[in-house]
């Protein structure tokens, strides 16, 4: 009874203004996205468009504005610049070693700190601390620890009869150092994600595996892994998105040196733009990096989807 009354009432009120109310609803629906869209168009899309524009221009250093259309010249210059390709290679090496290492150590230490005892909460909280140290501070501290003369790292190595290692002066060790610092800074982040993920695994599945007599290796690969794949994939994507922008650790710890051995592409473009004032070439380079990053991110996301759907 009451529903029919309600129905007719709203019905009579709505009929004349159905179109209006549909429009207000449409406006309300898009109203949620509009502020974000405006801000992102202004601060993200517009600058990228501007980068595209100046990558085809010459910048007048008197006015700091583009004043001449030069076509593909900037891109040709960049393509012939070995330093740019070197910096891409450096970034590649860093990513290939740092990301798997951090994923592995992160999940391993998560397993260790998840052991059920009364100190677990404290250990977990302690893992937060390295995670909130600004990367630029991390780079600075580690430069101090690894100093060839006064640093504690070489002193400790000396006690056990190793070294001294030229951490920052040797190209190989400098890259090692960058990966080390980055791993120190970011492993706790993965540890905390992994720790939560491991705790949320259903217990009965493992009990069932134990009753069936599965050894730990089988349990790890056949039971835990399939359950963890979505989390591993998602964590990898998040870490990839961060690592591909790495700049501050390299700036603070090695400043890209020795030579350009640790000059990751972001640092290299930064130096080209703001030290050498080659804005147009930098724009061309950053667009190339943008395209590479986008393609790889899309591939990783696709892979994540597929892994999730397979389960």
């Amino acid at each position: 009874m009451s529903t029919t009354v309600l129905g007719t009432r709203t019905g009579t009120r709505r009929i004349p203004s159905r179109r209006v109310s549909r429009l207000t609803d449409l406006a309300a629906r898009w109203g949620f996205v509009t502020p974000a869209a405006i801000l992102l168009i202004a601060t993200l899309a517009y600058p990228i468009g501007y980068t595209l524009y100046i990558s085809f221009a010459a910048i007048n250093l008197g006015t700091f504005s583009p004043d001449e259309w030069v076509g593909w010249d900037n891109y040709l210059t960049v393509f012939e610049d070995d330093r740019f390709w070197d910096s891409l290679w450096v970034t590649f090496v860093y990513l290939v070693f740092a990301l798997p290492l951090q994923m592995f150590l992160g999940f391993l230490s998560a397993f260790l700190i998840n052991a059920d005892w009364k100190g677990r909460g404290v250990v977990r909280a302690a893992f937060i601390i390295p995670m909130v140290i600004a990367p630029v501070i991390a780079g600075g501290i580690w430069r101090m620890l690894l100093d060839p003369l006064w640093g504690i790292a070489n002193y400790l190595l000396g006690i056990v009869g190793l070294g001294p290692i030229e951490w920052l002066a040797d190209p190989f060790w400098a890259m090692f150092t960058i990966i080390l610092i980055d791993t120190w800074r970011w492993t706790p982040f993965i540890t905390l994600i992994a720790s939560a993920a491991l705790l949320s695994l259903p217990r009965d599945v493992f009990e069932a595996a134990a009753i069936d007599g599965a050894n730990w290796w089988t349990t790890l690969w056949r039971v835990a892994m399939p359950l963890l794949v979505p989390v591993i994939a998602a964590t990898f994507v998040v870490r990839w998105l961060g690592a591909v922008k790495m700049f501050d650790i390299a700036l603070a710890a090695t400043h890209g040196g020795p030579g350009r051995a640790t000059s990751v592409v972001n640092l290299f473009i930064y130096e080209e733009a703001f030290r050498s004032l080659k804005f147009a070439e930098s724009a061309a380079m950053s667009l190339i990096v943008l395209v590479i990053t986008m393609v790889l991110t899309a591939i990783f996301l696709r892979g994540t989807r597929m892994l999730e759907e397979r389960n």
Partner: protein, 289 residues
């Protein structure tokens, strides 16, 4: 049956298990200590006098002093830089959480044409290298006289914080039960009313942890801060990179560690106070995204 079987297992097996448990616990503790050592060394060095810093071998025993702190607290305009960092990180995070969570809500729960496409674009935009934005932002801000202003840096930080918030909150909102809006509609709420009166209150933990991460991300950002500010609006990471990269005066470890410690302490306290939401946020970010 099975319980009696377990109880009858040889004690060697049980002893091995207990040993493995202890091993796991103490390896966990050791890993944790290993990660904290560099920070401990930073704090220790910051309390040393110049002559105790440069010793071979590095010393653990010295008379602690606050000399370096007092020297450098005002040398680098630290209070002003910290205030700048708070303004910029707070402003950018606040704008991003409001704007980003609204948009994330729309993508998760409102039928919008092209929502999936927008979602993919947002996620991809998290991969945009900041340097691709820093160059044009510098040129445009310079032309408009906006260099070294808080608002410029706030807007620059929105470029990575809004997509970040949108993505995380989209995951949170998707996981909520479907009936919430229907109930709100029956109670006579508009779409905005439903969002602010029902969705936001029950998503508060998620919003809070996303906000915390946004603040931390903005707090430690370096590239935009280096490019878009030089003095009036410059932030703490800029100061640190200045000290760490000072090749003229050599390694000023006293300054580095003292300034480092001073700027790390507030963040660490903040992070430990909100650790519950921080850990929860990390967990949800990985599983709900």
């Amino acid at each position: 049956m099975s319980t009696t079987a377990a109880r009858r297992r040889p004690s060697a097996y049980r002893r091995r298990n207990a040993f493995l448990r202890q091993l796991r616990i103490w390896s966990g503790v050791a890993t944790c200590v290993l990660f904290l050592l560099p920070i401990a060394w930073m704090v220790l060095t910051s309390l040393k006098q110049q002559r105790d810093i440069f010793t071979t071998p590095p010393t653990l025993f010295f008379t602690p002093t606050l000399e370096t702190y007092i020297n450098y607290l005002f040398n680098y305009d630290l209070p002003a830089r910290m205030l700048n960092t708070v303004i910029v990180a707070g402003g950018a995070s606040f704008i991003s959480i409001v704007v980003g969570s609204m948009a994330g809500y729309a993508l998760a729960r409102i039928k919008l044409r092209g929502a999936t496409t927008i979602g993919v674009i947002i996620l991809l935009s998290r991969g945009v290298p900041p340097i691709a934005l820093a160059v044009p932002m510098f040129l445009v801000a310079r032309a408009m006289g906006l260099l070294d202003h808080h608002i410029t840096l706030i807007l620059a930080y929105c470029t990575f914080l809004i997509p970040y918030v949108m993505w995380l909150m989209r995951g949170f909102f998707k996981a909520l039960p479907d009936e919430l809006e229907e109930a709100a509609k029956i109670d006579g709420c508009s779409r905005f009313g439903a969002f602010f009166r029902i969705i936001v209150p029950i998503s508060l933990p998620g919003l809070l942890s996303t906000l915390i991460f946004s603040i931390i991300l903005a707090w430690e950002e370096l590239l935009f801060a280096l490019v878009l500010t030089n003095r009036a609006a410059s932030t703490v990471p800029v100061v640190i990179s200045g000290i760490a990269g000072d090749t003229v005066n050599g390694a000023n470890w006293g300054a580095l560690t003292a300034v480092g410690t001073m700027t790390v302490i507030p963040v660490v306290i903040f992070a430990l106070l909100v650790q519950k939401w921080l850990i929860q946020g990390l967990a949800d970010g990985a599983t709900k995204g």
